[in-house]
């Protein structure tokens, strides 16, 4: 027996108080195996102990919501008897330690969350944050991490056969030591075919399916719940290795097994592996589970109960099967060449009982692990923010040159190098793929398309977490509206630093509150998500980076894209030129790229106005009046116009405004959408009916982009000269 010493408790990242709580819950000191089980289940990653209290503030119910947070993924009604399950999850820590496998298993994990519920995954997106590729100190490492992450996502998603239809990729020095890899997945199924992770029916067998259990990934969940130090690189063995082929077999076999009606409950083994799946299924089912570890398929000889319970080997599932129908299920798994073994059964005593060769090695009330985890109301102060309110004096000598710099900057440049490595078309449903404002994926069976987008802006949130989170939700909904889809539900991934620091905890709470406010207003309840804390390396936290993924609905139709398709159309700016003050300019891409500074406040957001603009855009797009549509966000009006021009047809734009030229061109005020149309009067009528300004700012024109302010030329460039920096930026920076 391993003695439970204070050092051992600390090594399991449990506090003395948490240990006392374990002793009280058990009525005795835990065994070594039990200590391991508690340590992963009570880790930040599994228990949300620092965030749970505040996550309750998020709206979770709504007209379309069939299943809110608490299951493997949220579920919404998409009409026609069908439903969509979706969620976003982080794999930040593993992706820093081992980019390829870290990102690959991130994709694998979220896909399992989706098909565990019975849904076939039909779309993946990813939100990525890296340190700058040309960073003087970390550039080489950042390039390696980006290349590894992208090929890891491609490897897993492409082989599994799910299209990666979109995402975002942003560079900031604060991610030098802590990249973010957030993966979103969405699946579709019939509403009468939803499966839950519940162990029901005392006496039903518990069946283990999929890959064998090895020593990989032990304590991955705890690793994800600690800051990075110099020793973190030693944790490489904690990162698991993904096998997308095995996952593809699991998908097909599980969906086929579910069709038999013999599957009572099912849960994937993700973070905390067998531990998490057994106690969560028991806890949710109000039952207990008894398992015999000797029956668990093992990759290596001599594994201890502790290792088997804590292994995070990938591509494994746990099923509860109706007693007497095991053979029906086993036959399907055999057909797909998979191991399926009864390892235990559902009991009525509410205990997770783990045996090893008949000897009980752990016996813990399931609820103690899953629901009695510590809950902290951590102290918080003012959000960490080391940026001035006022910025430098500046004046642009050449707005055209500034525009070329912006469009060739890391955040705004062409990301084709990334997304062409992803199969974004497999399953032949991708109506609108990467590179658009939102992705559109059709549902063949219903005539409906699902729109989805991911957004987050760490700079905004660093300056003001509450406002930054509201803006992220608004932008994501705007992205969907721009392609004509009605936003209906959301998922979030909250990436923050160490919550034990009051100034970080304040960022987290304010961001959650801002997101709650905006999600309630835009009627996009949060149906699930993920919190990733301790995103710090050597005490330096990332910008607070809440990422939101919004899902919307639209009738399937040919898509409206960003590029202007022809000359001579009117360019209409819905929502007008907007406003900006010196402080609000400090969060822009212009401040970042041209001035190398960050100050002030994020843009102001009038949510009422934003909603009206979005409503007008949807009606215009869905009436077939828009030849092109693009929302204004990073880089403002000039960058949006440039993005619409990149396929060769540009525009002649004439503006009337009292704003100073830099603000006019590059401020990032929300609630604005560009529309190219041959019928501007009809567009204006729809806008007026929504109470929205529709400003005719110019006409499309081949080969050039010209922007004038009261006759004075601000921007004048050939489209070719825009394309070159935009296209070459990422590949050339990756060459180092």
């Amino acid at each position: 027996m391993t003695a439970i010493t204070p050092e051992l408790i600390a090594a399991h990242q449990l506090t003395a108080e948490e240990y006392e709580r374990i002793v009280a819950l058990l009525g005795r000191p835990p065994s070594y195996t039990e200590l391991g089980i508690f340590s992963v289940m009570w880790s930040e990653h599994c228990s949300y102990k620092s965030s749970r209290l505040h996550l309750k503030k998020l709206p979770t119910a709504g007209r379309h919501v069939l299943q809110g947070p608490g299951e493997n993924a949220g579920i919404i009604d998409i009409g026609g008897g069908y439903a969509a399950a979706f969620k976003i999850e982080s794999h930040n820590h593993p992706s820093f330690i081992e980019p390829f496998q870290g990102a690959a298993t991130g994709v694998g994990g979220i896909l399992r969350d989706i098909f565990t519920m019975g849904a076939r995954p039909i779309a993946v997106m990813d939100s990525l944050r890296f340190g700058p590729l040309d960073d003087a100190r970390s550039g080489g490492r950042n390039r390696r991490i980006l290349e590894g992450v992208v090929s890891g996502i491609a490897h897993y998603g492409n082989c599994f056969g799910v299209p990666t239809v979109g995402g975002e990729c942003v560079f900031e020095p604060c991610y030098n030591g802590n990249p973010l890899v957030n993966v979103f997945a969405l699946g579709v199924f019939r509403q009468d075919r939803i499966f839950y992770a519940r162990a029901c029916g005392v006496g039903n067998p518990v069946v283990y399916v999929g890959a064998k259990t090895g020593r990989d990934g032990i304590h991955g969940a705890s690793m994800a719940s600690a800051e990075f130090t110099e020793e973190s690189k030693q944790k490489r063995p904690n990162v698991q290795v993904g096998d997308p082929f095995m996952e593809k077999l699991l998908l097909e076999a599980c969906l086929e097994a579910m069709e038999t009606g013999a599957v009572v409950g099912i849960q994937d083994m993700g973070a905390a592996g067998l531990t998490c799946s057994t106690c969560e299924m028991g806890s949710r089912g109000g039952t207990g589970i008894e398992i015999e570890l000797a029956r668990v398929p093992q990759r290596e000889a001599g594994m201890t109960p502790y290792e088997i319970m804590l292994s995070e080997s990938q591509e494994r599932m746990l099923l509860v099967v109706e007693r007497g129908r095991e053979e029906e299920v086993f036959r399907i798994f055999r057909k797909w060449g998979l191991d399926a073994v009864a390892v235990g059964e559902v009991t009525g005593d509410g205990l997770l009982r783990v045996k090893h060769h008949g000897r009980t090695v752990a016996e813990i009330p399931s609820r103690a692990l899953a629901d009695e985890a510590p809950l902290y109301d951590r102290p918080r102060s003012r959000p960490l923010r080391e940026a001035p309110l006022d910025g430098p004096d500046f004046e642009s000598a050449d707005p055209t040159a500034d525009l070329l710099s912006l469009i060739g900057s890391g955040d705004l440049c062409d990301k084709r190098w990334i997304w062409e490595q992803y199969d974004y078309m497999v399953r032949t449903n991708t109506v609108l793929g990467p590179g658009g404002d939102a992705a559109l994926v059709r549902i063949k069976e219903t005539g409906t398309s699902l729109a989805m987008a991911l957004d987050g802006n760490g700079r905004y949130c660093y300056l003001d977490p509450h406002q930054g989170a509201r803006l992220a939700v608004a932008e994501c909904c705007r992205n969907l509206s721009t392609v004509g889809a009605l936003p209906v539900a959301a998922t979030n991934c909250l990436n923050f630093g160490n919550p034990e620091r009051p100034e970080i905890m304040a960022q987290l709470v304010e961001a959650i509150e801002g997101m709650a406010e905006a999600c309630a207003f835009f009627e996009t309840p949060i149906t699930g998500g993920n919190v990733s804390l301790y995103n710090e390396t050597l005490g330096e936290a990332i910008y607070p980076t809440p990422v939101v993924g919004v899902v919307g609905l639209k009738k399937t139709a040919p898509p409206v894209r960003i590029p202007f398709p022809r000359e001579g159309s009117s360019v209409v700016l819905l929502g007008g030129l907007g406003g900006c003050d010196p402080r609000q300019f400090g969060a822009t891409q212009y401040a970042k790229v041209i001035l190398g500074a960050l100050w002030g406040r994020p843009p102001a957001l009038d949510m009422e106005r934003e909603k009206r603009v979005q409503g007008a855009a949807r009606e215009i797009v869905n009436s077939g009046l828009a030849e092109a549509a693009h929302d204004l966000s990073d880089g403002g009006l000039a960058v949006a116009l440039a993005e619409c021009s990149l396929e060769g047809v540009g525009a002649e734009v004439e503006l009337e405004s009292d704003l100073r030229p830099e603000y006019l061109l590059f401020h990032e005020g929300p609630a604005r959408i560009l529309i190219a149309t041959g019928q501007p009067e009809r567009v204006e009528r729809i806008a007026a009916a929504h109470g929205v300004e529709a400003l005719r700012i110019g006409r499309t024109r081949g080969g050039v982009l010209r922007i004038r302010l009261r006759g004075r030329r601000l921007v004048d460039c050939a489209i070719e000269s825009l394309r070159r920096p935009w296209e070459s930026a990422l590949p050339s920076r990756l060459r180092g």
Partner: protein, 223 residues
């Protein structure tokens, strides 16, 4: 005109091919399990894209040994139409129904994009509905699509008019810009681009249907 779409463990374009045949082309289609010894009386066979058996060793190297490939080889020898798309092409070269090999893309990266192809011959059951010189747009999605063969094989392919499609802007380093080739009997075609992904106007191109329609035309003319 019944099409059979083979399902290997790890096939992931099987359903897309089935859907394109069934719903976009309007012909009967059924799945054929890799473990089966028979083709169930289908008139044409499609080996779909994907990662058969994970493709961890070499693309198509394991699929070659699957039970159904014995039946597919027999069917091909007897003149049956076999279309290998992407991974299906890789399997066809692995089992020797087509010459040459498919290596990693020149840029060493997976590439997914719409490409333009030039039709090189209309004299095949897969391209009779096209004309020589016709440009078609089909998507590619592969990591190992660089077609290579020794000089004599390439000369033979060219001399016998067995190159069906060529890339206009070679994405993967294929010799002679080859995207699709025929066997000597002209009843087996391997094609790296995906015609099943270009069978619905919503997907941006319907040029892929021309390949399937050619197959239907060929089968209707068979006595």
């Amino acid at each position: 005109m019944k099409f059979g779409v083979v399902v290997f463990p790890g096939s992931n374009c099987d359903h897309d091919a089935w859907w394109a045949i069934r719903h976009n082309l309007g012909q009967p289609a059924e799945f054929l399990w890799h473990d089966s010894e028979s083709l169930g009386g289908v008139d044409a066979v499609i080996l779909p894209g994907g990662f058969s058996y994970g493709d961890y060793l070499r693309c198509g190297a394991i699929a070659k040994f699957s039970r159904i490939m014995r039946a597919v080889e027999r069917f091909a020898r007897e003149g049956g139409l076999v279309l290998g798309i992407c991974n299906g092409f890789q399997i066809l070269v692995e089992c020797g129904l087509l010459p040459g090999a498919l290596m990693r893309n020149r840029g060493l990266k997976f590439i997914c994009r719409q490409v333009e192809l030039r039709t090189e011959t209309a004299d095949s059951p897969f391209s009779s509905q096209l004309e020589r010189g016709r440009i078609v747009r089909l998507p590619i999605a592969h990591g190992e699509g660089c077609y290579v063969a020794d000089r004599r094989t390439l000369e033979e392919l060219e001399a016998e008019d067995r190159v069906v499609f060529r890339y206009l802007d070679n994405p993967n380093g294929s010799l002679n810009d080859i995207a699709g080739i025929l066997n000597p009997g002209r009843n087996v075609m391997g094609l790296m681009p995906h015609p099943e992904r270009a069978a619905d106007p919503l997907m941006g191109s319907t040029d892929g249907l021309l390949v399937f329609r050619s197959m239907v035309a060929a089968l209707s003319h068979t006595p």
